[in-house]
Symmetry: C3
Subunit: 228 residues, 3 copies
Amino acid sequence: MQIAWANNAFLQVIEYIAVFCCGMVGGSATVRKGYDITAIIIASWLTALGGGIIRDVMLGVPPVGVNDKGLVITALASGVAMAFIYPEVDELRWSMLTLDALAMALFAVEGTAKALTLGSSGMTAAFMGMFTALGGGLIRDTLINKVPMIIADKHWYFVPAAVGCVCTVGICRMTQHGVIDVRIEMALELVTVVLVVAMRLLSVKFDISVPGAIARNHVYLPGEEHRR
Amino acid sequence: MQIAWANNAFLQVIEYIAVFCCGMVGGSATVRKGYDITAIIIASWLTALGGGIIRDVMLGVPPVGVNDKGLVITALASGVAMAFIYPEVDELRWSMLTLDALAMALFAVEGTAKALTLGSSGMTAAFMGMFTALGGGLIRDTLINKVPMIIADKHWYFVPAAVGCVCTVGICRMTQHGVIDVRIEMALELVTVVLVVAMRLLSVKFDISVPGAIARNHVYLPGEEHRR
Amino acid sequence: MQIAWANNAFLQVIEYIAVFCCGMVGGSATVRKGYDITAIIIASWLTALGGGIIRDVMLGVPPVGVNDKGLVITALASGVAMAFIYPEVDELRWSMLTLDALAMALFAVEGTAKALTLGSSGMTAAFMGMFTALGGGLIRDTLINKVPMIIADKHWYFVPAAVGCVCTVGICRMTQHGVIDVRIEMALELVTVVLVVAMRLLSVKFDISVPGAIARNHVYLPGEEHRR
C-alpha cells in the first residue's frame, strides 16, 4: 500500500512537470502565430491535457484532464505564463525543443505506468504511453492547421517516445515480479526519461533522420503496361 | 420527480433548438465551399452533435449523438434545410452569427447541466459545457481544413461560452441547495443564454477583441548572448 | 453458441482483411508526400484502426485497435509492406481506389455487426458502421492536413458506406428473428460488400457525382433590403 502510494506520488509529480512543459510548448505555437490570450490558454490546455484525455477515454476511466483540479490549474497557468515570458523562452536557444522532449519523455513514462496500474496488457500500455506522449502535439498542430510533427518531423520523434514506453513496460513488469524494488524502479524511470530526451535532442543536434520509403526505380509487375 | 422531469424536458427542448441552429451553421460552411449534399449533411450532423458526443464519451455515457433518434433526425434535417434555404439564410445579415451564438449559448447551458445531473464536479461540468458548446465548431473547422474559430476568432468567442458554463454551475448548485426553485432556475438559465448571445454579438458589433500575449521589446535574461 | 462463434470468426477474418487494405491506403498517402518510415507506419496504423477505435470508445468497450495483438500487427505490417511495395501498388491502376473501397465495405459490415452484437439499436449500429468505415480516412486526411474525402470527394463515398450499413442492419435483424440462418447471413454480407465496392467503383468509373446544394438565383425574403 505504502509502496503503491509512494510510486503514485512519484508519477503524479512527473505528470505535473510534464503538463507544465507541454502547456508552454502549446502556448508558444499560438503566441508565435499572433493569436489572442484565450487562444493561447486553450492551446496550452489542450496540448498539455489532450494526450491524457485520449488515454483515459480509451482506458474507460474519467479523464484527469477535466477532473483533476491541480492538473487543470497547472495547464492553464502554463498558458498564462507563456503569454508573459514568451520572449525569454524564445530567446533561450533550444528551450522549446528541450521542453517538448522533456514533456514527451515524462508523459511516455507516466502514461504507460498509469495504464499498467489499471491492468492493461504491456502492448496496450505502450500504446497508451505513446498516445499520452504524442497526442498533445497532434492536437496542437491540428488546432493551428499544420501537418502534425509526428508525421512531418524528419528527426527522431516517434522513435524516442516508443523506446520510452517499451522501457517503462519492462521496468514496471520487473517491479511487479519483485525483481527490483520501488526505489530502483523510480531510478530506472528517470534514466528512461533522460534517455528519451537525449535521443530526441541528439537526433536534432546531429541531424539524424529516419529513412523514408525504399527508393526504387524498377517496378516488378508481370504483364500490365507501365505508366511513365 | 415531477420537478426533475420538468427540468429535463426544458433542457431537452433547449438541446433540440441548439442542434438545429448548430447544424445550419455547419451546413452553411460546406455550402459556401461548394461541396455536395452528402458533405453538407455530414458537416451539419457532426457540427450539431460532435460536441455532445465528445462530452458523452468523456462522461462515460452512451453518446446521444448516435443514440437519440430525435436529435439525429433534427441534425440531419438541419443539413437538408440548409441545402434548400441557404440563399435566404446568407441574405439575412447577421443570421449565421446569431444562430452560431445561440447554439453556443444553448449548448453551454445544456452541456453543463447534463454533466451536473450525472454527478460531475462543478469544474468538470463547466468543461463539459465548453466542450459541448465549442466542440462542434472545432470539428466543423477541422473538416473544412481551417484554423478553428476558437483559436482564430479575435472577438469574444470562448469568453461568453465560459461565462455561460460558470453561471449554469452556479444556478444548478443553487437549485440543488434549495435556494431557488425550478421555475426560477429555468428563468435564470434563459437569462444566461441571452447574456451569452449578447456578449458574443456585441463583441462582434463593436469590434471588442481579446488582447494577445504581452508585447515587450526588452528581454530579461542574464548572461546569454541575445539573437537579433 | 456454435453459431455465434462461427459468425464471429467470419467477422474477424473480414476485420483483418479490412485493416490490411485500409493500412495500405493510409501508408500510401504518406509515401506519396515523401514522409519517413515512422510517419508511414503511424499513418497506416491510425488509418486502419482509428475508425474502430472511435466506434469502440463510443460503444464503451476496450478499443480493439490498442488491445488486439493480431490487428495491431496487421496494421503495422501493412505500413511496412507499403514502404517496400508502393511502386507496384501505385503502378497498378485503380489498385488504391479498389483497396479503399474494399476496406470501406468490409468495415461497414463488420462495424455495424459488432455494434448489433453488443446490443445497439439499428440506428446506432448503422452509425457505428459508418464511423468504422469512414473514420480511418477522416483521420488519415486530417493527419496530412487535407480536406477529408468524406467532404471533398464528389463521387459516391458516403452513400455506398451508408447503404452497406443499412443492409447489414437488415441482414442481422433477419438472422436474429430466425428468418435466415448463419450461412445465408454470411452470403448476404458478402453480397453487401460486393455491392458497396461496386457502387463506389462505378461512381468513379462513370463519374457519377452527388448533387450539391440547390442552385437558386432568386431569394425569397419579405421586406429586407437585399445585398447584390
